[in-house]
Amino acid sequence: MSFRALLAVWMSKFVTIGLKIMGRGATSLPGVIAQRVYLLLPDRLLRQIDTCVIVTGTNGKTTTTELLYAMLHSDDEPWLVNRGGANLIQGILATLLQKTNWRGRLTVKRVLLEVDEATMRLVLPSIRPQVLVLTNVLRDQLDRYGEIDQTIMLLRNAAWGADTTLVTNADDPLCVAISSINQKPVFFGYAPMESTDETSVVDLVSGNQVRDGAFCEKCGALLSYERYFYGQMGIYACPECSFKRPELSFAGRVLDAGTAASQLCVNEYAATQDWRPSEDREFLVPNPLKGLYNAYNLLAATSAARTLGVSPSRIAEASKRFIQPLGRMQVFPGHPERILSLIKNPTGADSVLSTVAQDAREKMVCFVINDNFADGRDVSWLWDVDLEVFVENSPSTRYVCAGTRAADMALRLAYAGVDRLDIKIVDDTEALLLVGNEEALPVYVLSTYTALHPLVSLLTHAQPKEFRGKAVSAS
């Protein structure tokens, strides 16, 4: 390692120590400073990794990464992971620096990385992952990447290469289109039972939602769907050419959805082209998460872990112990009870809202909408969220809007049919707690990325003492 690289490593270590003395937690600052000193530092560290697993995609990256980490990591076989959605190059660098010694050597050789789609471009020249997990490809933050076609191109580049096994979503036509460049794709998908008393298909949604993959990537014809699960995910085939949902290696379905006893039932098919089970296996994984979109995350993590040779029993054990990442339907018990969830794009927001709608109690819903770079500067996505459906199904809900784009959100709600008198705009996030709520109605706080972490500490401190520490938190 060059002297300049070493200097950069040392700088980051001094900054980390300095931050600790000042009582500040882990941030991306050490990484930012180290890269100022030596631009190529991420490359020098990434090249030292022996086994690399990357999780990317539009939604579900953070939850899938946390789940997979729980399945992979042990004291005997330590893995390094970037947590909390720090998936841009600075966050990845800061993670690697935590396990870099003063001689500039990475002390952990197995690394699991959550990588933002656009950041793949910066990571791939340095390292090709053994396993690439692609969760889904949805319309997200178009102003950052140009348009969705460009994202697909970036991901195709990522999936290329003989040494990489792509683990991806068969139910998403865009993922499948990308997978054609990969030599050994492994597909997971949702497998609802045929019977009519099916309780495991949680949300078969209205035909209103945006579906990005509704056209055949091969010939451009309109795909025909046998079933929709959510977003553009479902069981589909092209009426014009051979493009269709591929055969699954891992088929999952949720049993006892929404209850504490909920489990994901996984059918694993031996890596053949045969639909019929040859050396198949069925196993159960406790499902600690709410919502169909989270079932996909659990299925993605399980498929990746199995591909890496983790036993079903260890997967089940890890899932049982799993603690949900911050701000993914995170409950803060108290009076009132508050529930925090991240929203960042239409499909994700629709899934979160349909989970909120399942809570039949009278409630308050707060939207905290920022337009910083990490949130996406363009807030037009708010108009692609199916708020009309939610508003119609949730009468007597009161709404509060905060964040830099509170006014845009309020306007969106007004046009979705909420009485303008029932919408309150507050100037700062702290003021959310002061909005009158004499009846102690449960409060759902739905927030974009940059407001999420401040909200976690705000809501934690707002809890009465006897409830403190009872919030589900990933520490």
Partner: protein, 261 residues
């Protein structure tokens, strides 16, 4: 004449990139609250356009690939739409839809994608940064509106050039091409613009202008009832504030400072 006001939404299955349904929701809501029946007629690519039944046309944006798919089918709509424009039918074209109004779109590779040729205009994808960000313009081309500013978000690689009146002058942002300080196009009933966000929620004056035009096209001349647009203007002002544009017109702000250091 006792039919609802009809807005054709062209190719919604392909051109729906920047929440165009927001524009339709706003038009519909602002009509309904005034007791005007408004119907949105989706026209899928390939389906015929029944002009006699329509009062307004909306053309949204799509990704490059989708836009090309639309372009290949455009010739069948050309003469109808040309006639509609000449007859003064209001038309709102946003982003990719705006680009499709012109002669052609030249890609970075030099390929020409033919447009509707409703106006003499061309768009070129020029190397360099994408033109992305919040935008505000001063809109002088629309008479009798309560405010002169139009705000929103733009995101385009193409640079557009035409000899017509623009929709407005750029106060902050890039506009048509990032060079001449002009944004959009306003010719007869046609409004073309790169501004989305979507366009109409935060610019209710523009929404009402389009509604008025559509009604006039049907032969109804009554002015629209004023609505309470407090929320709309709050969101509008917020964008102006973010961009550092004061509420007052530029002429008023350029007073000489009295402090002499």
């Amino acid at each position: 004449m006792n039919r609802p006001l009809r807005v054709a939404h062209l190719f919604p299955e392909l051109l729906n990139l920047y929440a165009d349904r927001g524009n339709l929701a706003v038009l519909r809501a602002r009509a309904v609250v005034r007791g005007i029946d408004l119907e949105v007629v989706p026209i899928r690519l390939g389906e015929p356009l029944n002009l006699a039944e329509l009062d307004m046309v909306l053309l949204g944006g799509g990704s490059d690939k989708e836009q090309m798919q639309v372009a290949s089918m455009l010739p069948q709509y050309q003469s109808d739409l040309h006639y509609a424009v000449e007859a003064g039918m209001p038309m709102l074209a946003v982003c990719g839809g705006y680009q499709l109004l012109g002669d052609y779109y030249e890609t970075l590779g030099g390929d020409l994608v033919k447009g509707l040729r409703l106006v003499e205009m061309y768009t070129k994808a020029e190397p360099g940064t994408r033109l992305v960000g919040n935008i505000a313009i001063e809109c002088s081309s629309i008479p009798g509106v309560v405010r002169q500013t139009v705000v929103g978000f733009e995101n385009h690689q193409g640079r557009t050039y035409h000899p017509y009146l623009p929709l407005g002058k750029v106060l902050s942002g890039y506009g048509n091409n990032g060079r001449d300080g002009l944004e959009g196009l306003h010719h007869l009933g046609v409004i073309g613009t790169y501004i989305h966000g979507p366009l109409l929620p935060k610019n209710p004056h523009l929404a009402d202008y389009l509604l008025t035009k559509a009604r006039a096209f049907r032969g109804v001349q009554e002015p629209l009832v004023e609505l309470d647009d407090t929320l709309e203007w709050r969101a509008h002002e917020h964008v102006l504030q973010m961009l550092g544009i004061s509420k007052t017109t530029p002429a008023e702000t350029s007073q000489p400072s009295e402090s002499l250091a």
